[in-house]
Symmetry: C4
Subunit: 255 residues, 4 copies
Amino acid sequence: MDELEVDAVAEVDLDEPALIEGLPGVGHVGKLAAEHLIEELDAESTLVRRIHSREFPPQVSVGDGVAELASARLHAVTVPDGRDLLVLTGDHQAGSNAGHYVLTDAFLDVAESFGASEVYALGGVPTGELIEEYAVLGAVSHEGLIEPLEDAGVEFREGEPAGGIVGVSGLLLGLGGRRGLDAACLMGETSGYLVDPKSARAVLRVLETRLEFTIDYGSLDERAEEMEEVVGKIQEMEGQAAVDVPSDDDLRYIG
Amino acid sequence: MDELEVDAVAEVDLDEPALIEGLPGVGHVGKLAAEHLIEELDAESTLVRRIHSREFPPQVSVGDGVAELASARLHAVTVPDGRDLLVLTGDHQAGSNAGHYVLTDAFLDVAESFGASEVYALGGVPTGELIEEYAVLGAVSHEGLIEPLEDAGVEFREGEPAGGIVGVSGLLLGLGGRRGLDAACLMGETSGYLVDPKSARAVLRVLETRLEFTIDYGSLDERAEEMEEVVGKIQEMEGQAAVDVPSDDDLRYIG
Amino acid sequence: MDELEVDAVAEVDLDEPALIEGLPGVGHVGKLAAEHLIEELDAESTLVRRIHSREFPPQVSVGDGVAELASARLHAVTVPDGRDLLVLTGDHQAGSNAGHYVLTDAFLDVAESFGASEVYALGGVPTGELIEEYAVLGAVSHEGLIEPLEDAGVEFREGEPAGGIVGVSGLLLGLGGRRGLDAACLMGETSGYLVDPKSARAVLRVLETRLEFTIDYGSLDERAEEMEEVVGKIQEMEGQAAVDVPSDDDLRYIG
Amino acid sequence: MDELEVDAVAEVDLDEPALIEGLPGVGHVGKLAAEHLIEELDAESTLVRRIHSREFPPQVSVGDGVAELASARLHAVTVPDGRDLLVLTGDHQAGSNAGHYVLTDAFLDVAESFGASEVYALGGVPTGELIEEYAVLGAVSHEGLIEPLEDAGVEFREGEPAGGIVGVSGLLLGLGGRRGLDAACLMGETSGYLVDPKSARAVLRVLETRLEFTIDYGSLDERAEEMEEVVGKIQEMEGQAAVDVPSDDDLRYIG
């Protein structure tokens, strides 16, 4: 296998599609959002490209017994009465600094071959605490993109995210901008500790407004409820622990 | 030395051999199995290729004073009345992500040059607890391979192994499948804590049925017994420890 | 993007400029010094080159919502009545050993294209304790550079810094020297625990004398005072802690 | 700078020299031995090659103020009435797996350009305890080299060193053997905890016998005595500590 191989799985004609990226990252927000989008628009979605690379881990995933080589996958989505989409998903970021540059350039090459000139990198931004109101932070490749995104509900905060944006999402802005593409990163606030379907929903709501599609959130809300049950049980266990386990002081008292 | 060098040690004509890989991994199951196979079929085994690579650690092993450069080794085995085999063994996986891709491609190139179109990657799958019944899990490159392997005693469980298959074994499926080869990974269940000859035996039993050879397990059973003595001694020591060593509470009582 | 790309942002004619490097490092001394220089000579400074590379982290920084791809930046500074300067700043060192060599060679190529034949790599040398008198240690590519730098207040101490000089600063001396450039490293003493504007000031004072420019230190002194307040608060908290928190012995007494 | 550059510092005609390598490693045995050899045969030693490489750390060392780029150095030594020597020293191993292969091949290329067909890689083998009798273990590229080395006092022990030989020393055997050179690794036993001049002396004694040169050990013995004083002081401090510091049990008694 070459350093990078793009398998053409199918061909679909798209009209100036927007590239939407959702690879694994903080709270799996981007991945959840991109996968939910493909599932909900299933009837209009076609897997068009598989991208393999030595920059991915040397790994296969196994579903129903059949192994699948580590890859990123590109779905073409022809939204009824809306913008066409190219949705990029996968299970891995690159395994090295240089690898992120190589992969992101490959993703942009493929997207441009479908006529894309607009890029939305989806992700999460960790706040370190549980979220009540799920704000969506933005960062863009060109200043002119700020206003229309603010109209769609995105917040731009001076100097945030403080640590910048790393990985494929960051480079889609950096390298996309160098190519003259209109690239934006939409980052849902999330605690950073757990997979966060609610943050993914907030990011998708922005995208709905911006790209004029409509999807159902039933399955994402179910997953959010499951996560909340998990959180509830953990808190319950911690509560009991606080009652049952004697502290050091107690022991001294007893001793 | 080039990035990769394949030394031709001997030439043997084989009839559509099956490639069997057993490099180091979980419980050393694959390595034990492949090495046992070569030992038991010693009279029919010939070392045909040595593969050196910068992707291996910069290391020599020393047996009887003579140093041997890190390598993978390919033995041709002409099984009486059975399928010819190519058995791949060695002491190392690659040292980097990309290296695993490079090495696996080299292994497949060499195997195909001998006419191989079938690949069995042997390994272990960790369960985290001691095993009573040694099941052998399977994963394959093409759906059609599942049924004949189930007939040979392999289990296919939805979504297992959960973390996928990493390293050379995983890529033999992933890259082998891309080449159109029939590739399967046979993974013996093992605790994951110890070298596990019993798991290696379980894997070899599947291979006997599937590839129609017969071997003796005497030496492997001896090794299994040695391992059990070791485990027994550890458990004994832990048992005594529980008796002899006063706990924190005891000390407070005394104090 | 290629492995390395140099964007020409502007062209400025310089007369035998001196290259001054200040990338992140111990106490951020070099970075603080180089950035202060550009700020204070703002009217005479022009951003001339941006250097992007796969050797940098896969990262964008976000200021006012617009993402900026990881880069090193070269400013041309035409000092009134003084030597012309090329000031190299940025937010990252390389991410690998080989990457430091590649980047440093690129920095030297660009500097030589502007006619530079003199290099000053700025940095800090950690002492492990708070500094009263900020000495500036030196290391040079050619023996003849020692005397003029001693005249400018630089100290040369046998065998210091003991661990050598690592990263871009070290290679500017090593690779610069191999090119026949006059290269020096100026290292301000610093505790090594904190960002140290005072050490940056000491380094800049040497450079003022050596390269005949004059700058104001008001903003750097303010930052130094802020840092001292931070240090003071930490010491205060530690002092209180020593009073309030009962030691193990106290607890036994109480128990 | 290219990935690898060999600077010709001087030319010396040698008659079938033996390459002796002493880079940093366990107990710095090889490095101490090689450097002592060059110092003691100073009048007959000439620095002939400096090897720079991106595989070395991005680092300069600083002696008397002048920086020296990370390198390996090759000295030609014309031993009176004995074999000519090429002695390889330096401060670094490679920084990556592949780098060790690249560097070792470069070292062998240079050595062969001087007509060398014999290689001695010097190093230490850790025993984990203080040594009384300093044995020197051997490993060779070809079986025929064992007997003459045993005659020079080298011990060959089945399966030792158990972990093989890593780094440049190991590859000099592995890659040297593949080139048809006579390569041996001489490993002085050493605790593994400290720089060990006595182990270096034991290795050099073997080399004296084998290559027919004679050197003085005064300075190496002095260093050994210094090390012993250090060890003595550490043991003394540990002894006092055992007396002064009350144990947990003492504290309970007091409490």
